[in-house]
Amino acid sequence: MTHATLTRGESAPATAAGPAGRARRTARRRAALQWIAVHALGLAAAAFFVLPFVFVLLTALMSDNQTLTRDLWPHPFVWSNFRTVWDTPGFLTWWRNTLVYAVAGTALTVVSSLPVAYALAKFRFRGRNLVMVLVISTMMLPPQVVIIPMYLFWTKQLGMDGTLWPLIIPMAFGDAFTIFLLRQFLLTVPREYTEAARVDGCGELRTLLTVVVPMIRPAIAAVALFQFFYCWNDYFGPQIYASSNPGAWTLSYGLESFRGAHHTDWNLTMAATVLVMAPVILVFFFAQKAFIEGVTLTGVKG
């Protein structure tokens, strides 16, 4: 600090005595140049991130023959591609299945994980750190680690092959990532609030539901979004359990077979791709803040 003040002390007379206006002009010009450089870089980066979407959308609107040409702008615009995809046998069923999986999975995950996260954040008991270690460990494991016994369990013992139930039912028993994230957030809720509720004679469950839940709404929104996206994007789960029955496929899984059915019809394949991406992006625009807060929480807090 003293060193910094000294430096300023030494250089001050030089600027004051010399042409102060020129120094200020140079500084302003440098700021302007930096502004231009930063925003030019920003535009280049934006092109990298946005152009793939643009190309996909443009291809989705091309005629069959045009996709293989060098021409990047569709003429004519074939809006009926979306109609064709929508009317493909199975597409609506996949939509419905995906929605059921994502909505039921999200609801079950949040409801079952919340009390666990609350206990880990607010109760003191022996073995709490061990539970935390186990939660974090399972969160980091790929689903393939235990898939063989799980598959045998659901299909050979319970006969649930060709359904999405083996994916939905486990979500009623807590999800490690959701528990972890909710707990990180619950740690920030001041103890006074829960203590006050307890003094008023609230049971723990009532405290959680009536005092804590309203306070952590953003966190609940964030974990719900994460889980919804996880289900929507899941490819491995449906591949293992639903592949034998196209009536149980989800969009993520069916999308690839769509390409199969239409061979090299890239325009229709890209139209289907747009229809799978669109809902996720729409959800994001409505819940952008909660989502970004959630992502930040995974890395920064704790």
Partner: protein, 314 residues
């Protein structure tokens, strides 16, 4: 004294029951969907089992098969190493760069941030199919453009030397999560430290090197370790890329050998699928699953050691 004791014990028992009740979903889930199948995976790794005949003891045969004779194991492990070294490094560097850029952008910051973030949300199957199309050597727009400006265009997903770089481009496109994490960390760096450095006459590079980096180094570590763990789980993108680029038709194709082209996109999780659900060799599939388990656990332990705050004493 003696009057307090039973009361205290009763209260303790009540608290223990309450803890148990709150934790019960996780206790059941952990036992049924993790502990039991993990033990079972170890058991099956020593059994010969094809799903139809009763399992029979096979000793270390599955283990020696996977490590010595299964032709896909070592290519998958080599690919994983490549991805850890190249893809994870580039993702961290690029994520930090984009994070820095977004903190410097003054005009239209919200718009830029959304544009940078959006690809992260694209469903992996859809994003992968889009990239296989965009980077399609003969007909894709990217190679049309490259050809137009006279750059020799690579074969991307159809060339074994370019398939992993193509996957890396796809991974860089979805950098949104890292960008947000780095952005938050960068905004947390105390302003006074920059001002002090500037008064000391530190240039942009020195400010980055001696102020920014030391402040965000925990987040860099976090990004590297979670990146490695994610690489262990890397499944959907390489599988779909290989399948679509190879022109394999449909989902029912059980004969599809993963890793197209020339095993260059194989990853360990794909082997579990290949052994278990295409070759019906559940025993060997469990061996690979355990290799995956050990690798993932090793890096998770590293993560928890480096970031003890992860566990968080309140």
């Amino acid at each position: 004294m003696s009057a307090v004791h039973p009361q205290l014990r009763a209260r303790r028992r009540k608290a223990a029951l309450r803890n148990l009740a709150f934790l019960s979903p996780w206790i059941i889930g952990f036992s049924v969907f993790f502990a039991y199948p993990l033990v079972s995976t170890v058991y099956f790794s020593f059994m010969h089992y094809n799903g139809f005949d009763a399992p029979t003891w096979s000793g270390g045969k599955n283990w020696s098969y996977v490590f010595r004779d299964y032709p896909l194991f070592w290519p998958a492990l080599r690919n994983t190493l490549w991805l850890v070294v190249v893809m994870v490094t580039l993702r961290v560097v690029f994520g930090l760069g984009i994070g820095l850029l977004i903190t410097k952008i003054k005009t239209g910051a919200g718009l830029f941030r959304t544009a940078f973030y959006l690809p992260y949300l694209a469903p992996p199957v859809a994003a992968t199919m889009a990239f296989v199309f965009l980077l399609n050597p003969g007909t894709g727009p990217v190679n049309h453009i490259l050809g137009g400006i006279g750059i020799p265009a690579p074969g991307w997903f159809t060339d074994p030397h370019w398939s992993k770089p193509a996957l890396t481009v796809l991974a860089l496109w979805g950098i949104g999560d890292l960008m947000v994490i780095f952005m938050a960390a960068l905004l947390d760096v105390p302003k006074e430290q920059y001002e002090a450095a500037e008064l000391d006459g530190a240039g942009a590079w020195h400010r980055f090197r001696y102020v920014t980096l030391p402040n965000i180094s925990p987040i860099v570590t976090f990004a590297v370790v979670t990146g490695v763990i994610q690489t262990m789980q890397y499944y959907t993108q390489p599988l779909v890329a290989g399948k679509v680029a190879s022109g394999i038709i449909g989902n029912s194709g059980q004969q599809f050998e993963p890793g197209y082209p020339d095993r260059s996109t194989l990853t360990l999780p794909q082997l579990v699928y290949n052994l278990g659900f295409q070759r019906f060799d559940y025993g060997s599939a469990c061996v690979v699953a355990l290799v995956l388990f050990v690798l993932a656990m090793a890096f998770t332990a590293l993560l928890m050691r480096r970031r003890s705050g992860f566990l968080g004493e309140d």
